[in-house]
Amino acid sequence: MKSHGFVWMSTRAVVALAVPFALAVTACSAQLEDARGAHLRGEYDQAIRIYARALENDSLDAAAWRDYGRALMDVGRYADAVTALQSAPSRMQPEIANTLGEAMRALGRLEEARVAFAAAERGADSLSARLNRAIMQLDAGDKAGAFRTFDQFIDVYNGASRGRLSSNELMAVATAVEHLGETDPELFKDALRAYDEAIAADPNNDEARLRLARLFLGKYNGSDAQQTIGEVLRRNPRQPDALLALGKAKEFEGSSEAAEHVRKALEVNPNLVSAHIFLTRGALIAEDFGLARERAERAVQLNPASLEALTMLATVQFLSGEREAYDQTERRILQLNPRYADLYTTLAELSVQTRQYPRAVELMQKAVALDSTSWRAHGTLGINLLRLGRIEDGRKHIEIAFRGDPYNVWLKNTLDLLDSMNRYVTTERGRFIIVADPREAPVLEPYITELASEAYDALSKRYKTQLDGKVRVELFNSHADFSVRTVGLAGLGALGASFGNLLTMDSPAAREVGQFNWGSTFWHELAHAFHLHLTSHKVPRWLTEGLATYEERRAKAGWGDDLNPGFLAAWKAKKLHPVSKLNNGFVRPEYPQQIGFSYYQASLVAEMIEQEYGFDTILQMLRGYRDGQTNEQVMRSVLEVEPEAFDKKFEAYIEQRFATQLAAVDGGEGKGDGRNSGSLADALGTAADLIREQEYDQAIPLLERAKQQFPEYAGPGGPYRLLAQIYLERGDRQKAAAELEKHTTINETDYEANIQLAELWSQLGNTAGAAAALERAMFIYPLQPQPHARLAELYSQLGDKSKVLRERKAIIGLQPADRAEAYYQLARAHYELGQNAEARRELLRALEAAPNYEKAQSLLLELRGSGR
């Protein structure tokens, strides 16, 4: 173990830390063995009974008293533990005082706990008691004092040259050193080793395992955390702290199972304050402020001195807009610990969960002012400054945090990303700042500038507002980079994110062709910016996602999610949330597809509200949220309906609007051999088989019927695509084109279909149709030169000179092999627009590559002849 230059000792030494008490009176051994066995297996009630009986027979077994106390605490009977331990013979007290102190601390009886820990320093548990006192010092804000005590544990370890440290003593050393890791990150490794030694010394020391698991989680190492927790749960599947730790580990990996494990913990220990705190967090993230308040108040009731519980209560009050109540709770917390920066850090982190990034920055600045060595505060501040587009300020704080905590994966990833973003190109165009990889920027910039302008004008008009300041758009050609930028870790499932005036998203190069539509993604994220702006970032997740998805559908034909059989199947199976609980579909999905379904469902809600109440009603709703109203309050005051009634209204809307499609998903009549089945899936499957057998005359009616049943379906194996295939086989290009046109105006990601359609329309002389198809393709994947060249030709035929220029610029951006031709064409496009200076410049580039290029030479002479 190292500190002050000490060398890690490879052999453990026994340390006589306190005067050992020679009061080892044993209770009935067999009974105690039974009790401990039951305790280890999680049979707490039985263990408690046996302990009680054994101690009646022999009250001078200190270990038995401690174990009895712990068993009671494990099921949340803290008060009973205090009573029981206080009833032990007085000469037992020093030996059991540490356990007594822990029970008192759990009840918030801090002074009494301090006294108990002080008394315990004369007993066998002296090291643990000393640790507990130091932790109480830390919780009271005396960091320097606490750290001085923690420091002594290193000496304890290194000085233990004879005998051995017990498992509990090693665990105490590990915890002390773990705290010291804040000042010297290398000590985390020593803490890890000490925990391992504690476990090796006593494989039944589950508390050591749990503390180790929490250390792993604190460093974002979910897999080692889960492995360690698993070791505890294998022997005792009811261990409440282990179940809580598992819930936290599952939350870390984004699993929907997290809350379930924590609820199981509460079944065993209904007074487990940390569990209530965890569930409060979950309720806040789900924006269920009522449930969050309930949980937070329960936690505070159980332990009125718990800083974490009070912080949760303060957060609920803060996010609910209860200023006075918040101020009171804030004062209470700061009385307990004047340097408790975690209040503001937690508040900020949960504000971020509800998209209140500017507020999070203000809070983090308070945290850092209160405790400049809070690496968590610096890190969170830095990350959120980045979300406001304040890159340099953000980097500064992240670097401070990383110096203090170099094992924080989030910070490291973010700093690495910032380094790689140094080579990104930043372009300002009107209201937008576009940041992209230098290889893509020349191609994307003309498109995104046009789209951004169109989207901004449309949304500004619709939402009757302007955004403050410029909008920064960052496009990442690596999904991992986008993920790190957005949440600090790789693996985010989203395509884009909006933090207000900062939008981050995958660029087309980040994904395989056809995986997403970057144009609609951009529109979606910009819509969020308007919702956040209008509501001062208080819009609930379900509504902003619903509106943003709906705005995509309104923006361009085919954009945005469409009705699909999977959604309706989930609807019929009642696997979708009612509107009043729709937020859960986003923040606590019960199965992976539920998130995607929730987006579409929310968009239907938005659509229904506009249809039935008008869009101004939606604006009113947004104002309601801005003013601090909850979902229920907004529904009552604006829609004039109770939440449950609105749920039913939406159900009726879906049933009526999609009656035909619901029947098609159902199966209709006759399952027979599939050829007579009424189900969409059967029809499409059968049609595909018939096409393979070239039985086109039989396939066509099936596909036509499928279109009638489910006109919105243009997904894999959909009727439009299959019909197009048949008509192409038969040489009927017109019909094939008609089917593909329908397909591509529903399906926003089918790149190949758009390319094929463009070719068909060209052959049929429909230049505008061909151009429209290629234009759609560009919003899926704009990084191939040939479609741009073709589109340029089409726009030239259509006389749209600006678009010709846009395409010629895009080709240059793609660094074509034939530079001379590309620059020549660009020069000509400029020339057609009367931009002779630009034309000249590009011509020189063309002729530089190919000085004898006849066409370019002719244009040069023409330019010269025209006097410029």
């Binding site: 190069a509 092999a817 000085p851 004898n852 370019a856």
Partner: protein, 341 residues
């Protein structure tokens, strides 16, 4: 006759290998001295020997054959100048002229070399291995780099270009390197063992690879096109790039990924795969004068380009424009005299 590094053809003054380090006053003399030899070379159509090796699976058999015939069709050579050795000639619809065995390869090289002094282009399409002795997989014994080098050495001084488009082909670079010989490999070393797509894009170069717009595709142009399109393909597919094509023609055994004519590329620039050579021989004294003036302008342009890095952009553009306008007018005059070609 193997040319020394830096030789250029008269008609290629457009692409003259005026190395930046040469003093300008020597450039014209050097180029002029090489006019006759290089023009003779450039006017010669190469003999094409395409070898498709052991495919292993039907999909590769089909693919290799497509690339081989694509290349043959694109080069538009007389049948007498084309030799196509395939793993299974009977499946090639009579396109193949023999079986791709080591002995057959050797025999064809000898035969072709014996017939004329025309350049030889040898293209290997298939699978290779860079472990131990670098080899190209053939029916029967494989063709090693050492053996191929011996075969090429045996045919004496002539312009030879070898394109090894197989996996792990980079290992052939060093053993085959020789003064005046052009080596192109699909990979940069024998460690890049994955299947390659270089040959596919090499074929496509004939459609879109004429970078200098002189109506001909040089090996350098084809290489640059194929390399750049290979790179694009991997980016579009979101895959790690597992092949990095190389070109070596200055005899130092080290190829270049981006030959610029200074390290590698000078000879490849004048090795033509397709297209008609510009007419430069004439009895018309006016045309002779114009050709010479045109050549001088092209040299000036190349010299100016070589000085670009040290010039202010506006000054460079002004100078360049002036020369380009003069060249354009000169070309107009030439076309008029040539009869409106």
């Amino acid at each position: 006759m193997k040319n020394v590094i830096g030789n250029t053809a008269a008609s290629e003054v457009t692409h003259a290998a005026v190395k930046p380090r040469w003093c300008r006053r020597f450039a014209a003399a050097a180029i002029g001295a090489m006019m006759v030899t290089a023009s003779a070379v450039s006017a010669q159509q190469p003999n094409l020997i395409v070898v498709t090796g052991v495919a292993g699976e039907p999909q590769y058999t089909k693919r290799f054959h497509q690339w081989a015939t694509g290349l043959i069709d694109a080069m538009k050579l007389p049948a007498t100048k084309v030799h196509y050795l395939a793993e299974k000639p009977e499946t090639t619809a009579r396109r193949a002229t023999g079986k791709s065995t080591r002995d057959e390869v050797a025999a064809v090289i000898r035969t072709v070399a014996a017939k004329s002094q025309d350049p030889i282009l040898l293209v290997l399409i298939g699978h290779g291995s860079g472990e131990g002795e670098p080899r190209f997989n053939l029916v029967g014994p494989d063709l090693t780099a050492t053996e191929l080098n011996r075969m090429l050495d045996a045919i004496g001084d002539r312009r030879v270009a070898v394109i090894n488009a197989a996996s792990a082909s980079g290992a052939f670079l060093e053993p085959l390197s020789a003064p005046g010989r052009i080596i192109v490999t699909a990979t940069r070393s024998g460690l890049e063992r994955n299947e390659t797509i270089f040959a596919q894009h090499l074929v496509e170069a004939f459609q879109a690879g004429d970078a200098d717009k002189d109506g001909r595709i040089s090996l350098l142009e084809a290489f640059n096109y194929a390399r750049s399109e290979v790179d694009r393909w991997y980016r579009e597919q979101n895959r790690l790039v597992t092949e990095h094509a190389m070109l070596e023609d200055n005899g130092d055994g080290k190829g270049s990924m981006e030959p610029d004519g200074r390290t590698d590329g000078a000879i490849a620039r004048t090795f033509y795969l397709a297209g008609a050579a510009a007419v430069t021989a004439t009895t018309d004294p006016r045309l002779r004068t114009l050709y010479a003036e045109k050549q001088a302008l092209e040299e000036k342009i190349e010299t100016l380009k070589s000085m670009k890095a040290g010039m202010e952009e506006a000054v460079y553009e002004r100078e360049l424009e002036k020369l380009l306008i003069d060249l354009s007018l000169k070309n107009q005059e030439i076309r008029k005299l040539e009869g409106g070609r």
